[in-house]
Symmetry: C2
Subunit: 364 residues, 2 copies
């Protein structure tokens, strides 16, 4: 492989002059440029990024650390990240953590050793540790999707989980539902908690005190399992309270609900996988949606994947989230960002489809 010296020799100039032409920096005549470019062309010369980066302390590479690219929400975010990065001449290293702190740490180590210019991080679990690991190498971070406590002082971009959940549940209430179950993600993930807050806010505002919140993972199996728990609770004697509690990690059922022990008439699922898992559980119980049970969920599915859009959802602007976060990150690392850290909260969009059903009979 030819190096910059070979080019310099052929063009009859010093290596630094070749460097100047390549980077379009400093001064050189048009004739010099010509000669250098010609030499580059005839040799098929390609600059070595490693040497360049070692010297310049810039790699034009970002890392995207997320939980699982397989979730279409993250896929879309990733595409936004990649487009924004690519538009600015940056590359993206993809890292799937599967919500594992171990994997996250392993990856952070690797990408920091690779001297990435910036990190887009969806923290698996608690954000302080990973953020400070990254910060310790003076690398800018933008936290994606998850809320961070204000004392962390880090840029972040996410969508409005509270508002999205609030709107979904308010819709259910407006449609006549009085017993709405919430299926959500892990309690240490801010979106899971925030979406429960929105749920509670809507209940509270409507003066409803029947609530049922089930925590699990953000996956299909949890959606199925939690919906089953919610359904099968029906008819149980209230004395089963403790058993029930033991059966399910993070089961949180108010005593009012247990006393009455009726089935919920509507479900709010806090992400796309939970919604689909729940839907399957409902079908397994021979419950028609929306005729017998209503269902709403967070995250829309890409229109290209859905034959017949059915679920009423709070759609997050996933692509925009990825794109904006990346722009912010790049602004930060080129010093173009505002001094103080940014917290960008994007609105969700309520999309009403059939799964929420028509207004229900209040006798339900």
């Amino acid at each position: 492989m030819p190096t910059i010296r070979d080019v310099a020799r052929l063009a009859g100039v010093a290596p630094i002059t070749v460097s100047r032409v390549i980077n379009n920096s400093g001064y050189f005549t048009d004739e010099t440029r010509q000669r250098v470019e010609e030499a580059i062309h005839t040799l098929g010369y390609m600059p070595n990024s490693l040497a360049r980066s070692l010297r310049s302390h810039k790699t034009r590479t970002l890392a995207l650390v997320l939980t699982d690219i397989t979730n279409p929400f993250w896929t879309t975010v990733a595409r936004g990240v990649e487009d924004a990065a690519s538009d600015a001449g940056f590359s993206v290293i993809l890292c799937n953590t599967d919500e594992s702190d171990i994997e996250q740490e392993r990856y952070l180590r690797i990408i920091l050793e690779k001297q990435v210019d910036g990190v887009l991080l969806v923290p698996s679990g608690e954000p302080h540790e990973p953020v400070s690991t990254i910060r310790s190498q003076n690398v800018p971070v933008v936290v994606l999707d998850r809320r961070v406590s204000s004392d962390l002082d880090v840029d972040s971009v996410r969508s409005d989980s509270v508002q999205g959940a609030y709107e979904l549940v308010r819709l259910l209430i407006k449609l006549g539902h009085r017993r709405i179950a919430a299926l959500t993600g892990p309690q240490d993930v801010s979106t899971a908690v925030d979406r429960v807050s929105g749920y509670r806010q809507a209940l509270h505002e409507a003066g409803l005190d029947w609530e049922m919140v089930l925590y699990g993972e953000y996956d299909l199996a949890s959606g199925f399992r939690l919906a089953n728990i919610a359904l099968e609770n029906e008819g149980r004697p209230t004395s089963d309270n403790h058993d029930l509690h033991d059966l399910t990690s993070g089961f949180d059922l108010t005593s009012q609900a247990l006393l009455a022990n009726p089935r919920p008439t509507a479900f709010f699922a806090a992400n796309n996988f939970l919604a689909i898992g729940a839907l399957r559980a409902l079908r397994a119980h021979n419950l028609q949606v929306p005729e017998q049970v209503a269902l709403v969920g967070f995250d829309d599915l890409p229109e290209s994947l859905v034959v017949d859009p059915f679920l009423t959802v709070a759609a997050q602007p996933a692509y925009e989230m990825g794109y904006k976060a990346t722009e912010l990150l790049m602004a930060r690392l080129t010093g173009r960002a505002p001094e103080n850290c940014q917290e960008i909260i994007l609105p969700t969009q309520l999309i009403v489809r059939r799964s929420s059903g028509d207004p229900v009979n209040s006798s339900l």
Copy 2:
């Protein structure tokens, strides 16, 4: 940031000794290791991959160049790639080309300058040029998904498009269909062509001469558009042949079909997006699937995304494809691969669901 020299100084050894400990290469006593590791720990030292790679000519980084991560098929492939790479301590740079040769060339340049150890390439269009670009830098390539002419002599991993299409169309024929339309991708993409081959093979074997092949893009809009063309051809005078030809790029309709001018009773879509686009077109025509028209397609959708699996498909082992291709690539670049180039063809799996329907009345 501390460097290897700082560590060496603190441990009272030479930098090269630190290097030996880090890389576990050469000889050193256990006591030396202890001292070095202690120094590394107290300084919080992290090796600089750039310097390391510049010297060692290894980056432990692969590039994955594909068309669009947003297609769940590619998402799954990408996850397989990432897992295989990660298992071996490699990172992956993600590149979306959107089937654009320009983008592909731009990306190849960037990743080659970054000195990636290997490339997983889904060529946009003609594969010779990108492959030889990569080869010119002595970087190993594995071509994914697309067939390459044997004179290219490159490792490749794909699934059996001909067989998958053949099985799908044979199923339709067995179910009684005699007029089956094929909706496929661009004519310069091997999968689009191969799937038509499989289609024709099944028709031929059954002695059917009615065929209709429509070429387009591998996207939703094409699925919708091509299905509409196939449906609206009904009743057109055959003299419209040329107009029709002009209307659609790559329209390829045998004269038999035009003479008869009947609607197809079944559709074969050559990928997931085409299938969904077609399904929408069928609905727009108030045609019930499968009661009035049957539909089968290539690529399965992830079970976690589909509420109610409906489409009969030839499923590709996407994850496995990514994983195996990456293993092959890494074997190649560590010299562990067989001398001659590998062409791995993975079987597809026929998954029969409702969209193909029950046996139809032969009077259709």
